[in-house]
């Protein structure tokens, strides 16, 4: 039996930005507010009133925006302290890194250097040679 040889070629992942997981990830990261006031009346009498005030977010986003957590949540744990640190996506590798480190130093994952950090480094070099 002859089998055609299949060549495995690396396929460029063009869907990386639009998968369901990515959408959910982004929505939870940005936070979602759902507010609704709905009144249903049947033949002149208001039967049903619905008032929704909902905020949907990941733990990290919720902590950063100071959302209320159910009673009994211990907010003093290391994970919560970590979540409260301001973070940004690295423009190069998309990892979450503390904003301060990313802006003033570099990305610890991929080594990306911000314009600000470059300017600081340049100023340092100029100062040394003058």
């Amino acid at each position: 039996m002859e089998e055609e040889e299949e060549i495995l070629e690396p396929e460029k992942d063009t869907q990386q930005d639009s998968g369901l997981a990515a959408v959910i990830d982004r929505v939870l990261d940005k936070g979602l507010v759902i507010n609704a006031d709905i009144a249903v009346s049947v033949s002149g009498t208001e039967l049903l009133g619905i008032k929704i005030r909902a905020a949907l977010a990941s733990f990290e986003t919720a902590a950063q925006f100071g959302l209320q957590f159910p009673s009994g949540t211990d907010m003093a744990t290391a994970a919560w302290n970590e979540a409260k640190i301001e973070k940004e996506d690295c423009p190069q590798c998309s990892k979450r890194v503390s904003t301060e480190q990313l802006l003033n130093e570099n990305c610890p994952w991929c080594g990306w250097i911000s314009a600000k950090a470059k300017a600081i480094a340049k100023a340092k070099v100029t100062a040394e040679y003058s």
Binding site: D17, S18, A22, V23, R26, V27, K30, G31, L32, V33, I34, N35, A36, D37, I38, A39, V40, S41, V42, S43, G44, R53, A54, A55, A57, T61, Q64, F65, G66, L67, Q68, K84, E86, E88, P91, L103, S114, A115, K116, K118, A119
Partner: protein
């Protein structure tokens, strides 16, 4: 929010993100009647938005949200860099974006 990254095509993710960042309001009045007899009337206002859009436009958050966090302050004082889309304080952006070095030019 405009993405200026080269070679960046609009994906579902971007569309959703942009929609939520702009905010969605559904203001509706539905009346169902048969033979001029009003049967059901539905009146509803619904808002869907991201946290940042909601905060900027004074949308009601559920229960007591603590507003003294950095994230809230950032939302009110920072703007998006036109080039890299990162949130930057306006004064900082005028001197050049600290992320991508975008220069606004003489204002």
């Amino acid at each position: 929010m405009v993405r200026l990254r080269p070679g960046y095509s609009e994906s579902l993710l971007d569309i959703i993100e942009r929609m939520l960042d702009k905010g969605i309001v559904i203001d509706t009045k539905i009346r169902i009647s048969i033979d001029d007899i009003h049967l059901v009337k539905v009146r509803g206002t619904i808002i869907l938005s991201s946290f940042s859009a909601a905060a900027k436009h004074g949308i009601d958050f559920p229960s007591e949200v603590i507003h003294e966090t950095q994230a809230w302050r950032d939302l009110l004082t920072k703007v998006d860099c036109p080039q890299c889309n990162k949130m930057v304080a306006r004064e900082e952006l005028e001197e050049g974006c600290p992320w991508c070095g975008y220069d606004m030019g003489p204002s």
